[in-house]
């Protein structure tokens, strides 16, 4: 009984419950037809959400004002640079991957440098840098859509026993993220900084070093996601990162991580990513048009946050 009570208090429960409810509703509507495929698609698209959300979660956990708005630009830049470098050749695959990760690392480094040197809120720093990265991607891409190497496309779309390989890989990645958050000095430092930066500093945590690492990790994950997404969708497109700006934040928050920082959890990311994708699928199946779909998605996101927060204003 006690166990059940503690389970009910888990912050990720809402997201998983929501995902399950939406999936069941869709299955009930179609009378079970194709719910397997829906789940498989949700795992694939959810995987992309989770990769970027993992980085965003660490950034948001750093405390109020910490959000990385450069994720879409970073994804696009990493996608275009790596696809162009590989030019569809499978032999160049490792180099392409390294390039994508390097682009992410540089983006994260620039972001942190701006935050540190200009002492501006991360939102503005990553916002202004994202303009430049987006321009760089446009300039580099020149409107071309280079096909990804077949090996990469195969990996991004492969399935083992009906489960997308990419989902399995990202579940492992998320598991690493969970260990990193809960069992390492770095992870605990991030949480401590989010709860009280000054106290963390006085406790001997190298605050700035942890922040730098977090922004660089977030951008590197965005680079990885751009690389895989370009492979999945047949090439890098200039608007490929667009929806990931809002979704990365929404997934983190719906997953039960505190926007005010200092409190994070990884399982919720997967729950929220599945929830968001299944929600859109459900509205699609029920024949809602693009407009209605967006309105309902927005209202449901807000509804979940209102329900999950529950905190009355402290006075």
């Amino acid at each position: 009984m006690k166990r059940l009570a503690s389970l009910l208090k888990q912050p990720w429960l809402w997201a998983w419950g929501g995902a399950l409810a939406v999936w069941l509703a869709t299955a009930a509507y179609t009378q079970g037809q194709g719910s397997g495929q829906v789940l498989s698609a949700a795992l694939t698209f959810g995987a992309f959400f989770v990769i970027v959300a993992l980085g965003q979660m660490f950034v948001i956990t750093l405390g109020p004002g910490n959000v990385d708005l450069s994720i879409p630009a970073c994804m696009t830049l990493a996608g275009t640079v790596s696809m162009k470098a590989m030019e569809g050749s499978g032999a160049m695959l490792p180099i392409g991957l390294l390039l994508a990760l390097a682009v992410g690392l540089v983006v994260g480094g620039v972001n942190y440098t701006l935050i540190r040197l200009l002492r501006i809120p991360p939102i503005i720093a990553t916002l202004s840098s994202s303009f430049i990265f987006q321009s760089a991607a446009i300039w580099w891409n020149r409107g071309l859509r280079v096909k990804p190497p077949t090996a990469l496309a195969d990996f991004a779309t492969a399935k083992v026993a009906g489960i997308p390989v990419i989902a399995i890989a990202v579940i492992l990645l998320a598991a690493c993220g969970h260990v990193l958050l809960t069992r390492t000095v770095y992870g605990r430092s991030v949480v401590a900084i989010g709860q009280n930066m000054r106290a963390a500093h006085l406790a001997g945590i190298k605050v700035e070093r942890v922040r730098a690492a977090t922004y660089m990790m977030c951008a590197t994950l965005a680079g990885l996601c751009g690389f895989l997404l370009a492979g999945f969708s047949g090439g890098a497109a200039l608007n490929m990162g667009e929806e990931y700006l809002l979704s990365s934040i929404a997934v983190v928050v719906i997953g039960g991580t505190s926007v005010a920082g200092g409190f994070a959890n990884v399982p919720g990311l997967w729950g929220a990513a599945l929830f968001l994708f299944l929600l859109v699928t459900m509205l699609n199946t029920m024949g809602a048009g693009a407009g209605l779909r967006m309105v309902l998605t927005g209202l449901i996101i807000i509804g979940v946050i209102v329900a999950a927060s529950g905190g009355k204003r402290r006075t």
């Binding site: 200009l118 939102i123 503005i124 430049i132 048009g289 927060s309 204003r313 006075t315």
Partner: protein, 312 residues
């Protein structure tokens, strides 16, 4: 002399100086813009951006952030080009309803202590979805009176300049000089002490959000007046532009430190940045990037000024 050049003054002068520098650079590159007609063309689209920036400024003033203003302005533009044109009464009712919705949003964020970033993120989907529902394909028609107001050609001074001065002046008088405005700003500076002094924070938040909604509505109407037709995605970039505009104009993220005049100047600087680049014959690919670069340069200057202030 030293008082004239104190860091405080310098910081206040930074937004107008950046705008002036940009304008001079544009005049130098393309002398023909230094005319009534040229200025009109250059600054036309700055008016809706300035109004959206003022809207964002009201939200930032109470330590919140609105990530939905772009979608909201788009929705207003769609309503203006359809309902307000065809059935004015329905159009007015819808626009008033939107302002009320904004006030209620402020109430929800305050009462449930929700993060405004996330709530407005969700609302951006809602506004955009509604815009698509109102106007599924680009089109519509601007009401005649808005069109003629936005294309006014007063003698001597171009309309966009007059409009910007009026917007900045009116909001400045209200927010910075009136008693009500001081209380509203206080909610960003020290909410607890305001509450102890007997003011209702709920009412303040609702008023600020309603004001933001009001200026968002004005921005959408002005935009349609210029473009004559609307589209659901017409103003999505306003979200980021408006935040950048407030910050460029000397606003801060917390503490209720904002400046209406600065915000309008910041919005004009961002609007001009695009033209500047095209006059430079720089690759159009770098248009957006240049806006980012200008933002970074101004912020860097601000840091330099603050440092010299700290040294004294």
């Amino acid at each position: 002399m030293s008082a004239l050049l104190s860091p405080r003054v310098l910081r206040g002068l930074l937004p107008p100086l950046s705008l002036a520098a940009l304008l001079i650079a544009i005049f130098w590159l393309q002398p023909r813009t230094m005319s009534y007609f040229g200025l009109n063309l250059l600054l036309n689209l700055a008016v809706p951006i300035a109004l959206a920036t003022i809207a964002q400024m009201f939200i930032l003033c109470v330590n919140e952030l609105d990530l939905s203003i772009g979608g909201f302005v788009s929705l207003v533009a769609c309503i203006t080009a359809t309902w307000l044109h065809d059935t004015p009464l329905l159009g007015i009712a819808a626009l008033v309803g939107l302002i009320v919705a904004y006030a209620l949003l402020g109430a929800l964020i305050h009462i449930r202590n929700l993060p405004s970033i996330v709530v407005t993120l969700g609302m951006s989907f809602v506004w955009l979805g509604l815009a698509v529902l109102v106007l599924p394909t680009p089109g519509g028609k601007a009401p005649e009176y808005i069109r003629s107001l936005m294309t006014l050609k007063p003698s001597l001074v171009p309309f966009p300049i007059i409009a910007s001065v009026v917007i900045a002046g009116v909001v400045h008088l209200f927010l910075m000089r009136s008693a009500v405005g001081t209380v509203l700003r206080g909610a960003g500076g020290n909410p607890r002490s305001l509450e102890r002094a007997g003011w209702s924070l709920l009412k303040i938040k609702m008023s600020m959000f309603a004001l933001a909604g009001f200026f968002g509505v004005l921005s959408g109407m002005a935009l349609v007046g210029l473009t004559t037709s609307a589209d659901a995605n017409i103003a999505l970039r306003y979200t980021l532009l408006s935040i950048a505009g407030v910050i460029l104009g000397g606003g801060e993220f917390v503490g209720g430190r904002v400046s209406p005049i600065g915000a309008v100047i910041g919005a004009m600087t961002l609007a001009l940045a695009g033209s500047f680049l095209s006059f430079l014959r720089l690759n159009p690919d770098w248009q957006i990037g240049a806006q980012g670069a200008i933002l970074i340069v101004v912020l860097a200057l601000r840091v330099l000024i603050s440092r010299s202030e700290a040294k004294r």
